[in-house]
């Protein structure tokens, strides 16, 4: 019985990993920005699934609520509002890049990930069994206790960001 459950967990992990990789590739390679956004949403669902796998239910639901519900709608708005007059919305110019530059980009971008990956593989602590799920009440107590300053600060940051966005969006009267 335990073997079956173990294999199921690995299968679920593989499925979410597939979602993340395919979505991520779409997000960074697609010519159309709308397709890239759909890829991003796929990746976000994959990450939410991984949170569920780790029994972090609250964070998984917040991921779906905040990222997929709010942030991707914002990005969609910014794609739609920046279309050039006689073009399709959200297309990137497809000037051909020389393949050498793509290679250089890859080296630049993937070097940090590879270095960090080597460090992670070399000094990984022994894995524990998954702890029992932290209840929402406990999380809330932690949020208002040790994390109360961060909690207040993030609300200030959100307020400042919203106010700044509104301020930036105002038309200046000539």
């Amino acid at each position: 019985m335990e073997i079956i459950i173990n294999n199921l967990v690995y299968a679920a992990f593989g499925f979410y990993l597939l979602l993340i990789i395919v979505g991520g590739l779409a997000a960074i390679m697609a010519k159309s920005l709308v397709r890239a956004l759909v890829g991003l949403i796929m990746t976000l669902f994959g990450v939410a699934g991984m949170y569920f796998l780790m029994a972090a239910t609250f964070i998984a639901l917040m991921q779906i609520l905040i990222y997929i519900g709010a942030v991707s709608v914002l990005i969609f708005f910014s794609i739609m509002l920046t279309r050039v007059p006689d073009g399709e919305a959200g297309m990137e110019n497809s000037s051909r890049k020389p393949s050498g530059r793509i290679l250089l980009t890859m080296v630049t971008a993937l070097m940090p990930a590879f270095i960090l990956g080597a460090i992670v593989i070399r000094n990984c602590p022994p894995a524990l069994k998954l702890k029992p799920e932290t209840s929402l009440a406990e999380l809330g107590k932690f949020l208002t206790g040790p994390y109360s300053l961060a909690f207040e600060l993030i609300s200030v940051v959100l307020f400042v960001a919203m106010a700044g966005a509104v301020l930036l969006g105002f038309e200046r009267r000539k």
Binding site: M50, V71, L74, S78, G90, G117, K131
Partner: protein
Amino acid sequence: MNHLVLFHLTALVLLGFGLFGLVSRKTLVGMLISVELMLNGAGLALVASSRLTPAVDAVGQLGALFVMGLAAAEATLVLAIILVVFKRMGTTESKDVSVLRG
């Protein structure tokens, strides 16, 4: 190769995708999408480290929640900036947006 390493490697895949997109994308919106990928990787690594090690559980989970809040604030501001840039210069290609003027 245990579970913790698998989750961390997934987070690193997200980081690599995000960095690659940030370097190779030509429009500001594309770069915003790549930044969201990287932030997701950060959140995943935080939650994995708190769930699968002896660390206090709430620290990592609430840290990931804060990352999400910061991502929302950042996306709002970037949306406003993109709109202003588009209104003034008529484009959001990063190579054309190279003039600093008050």
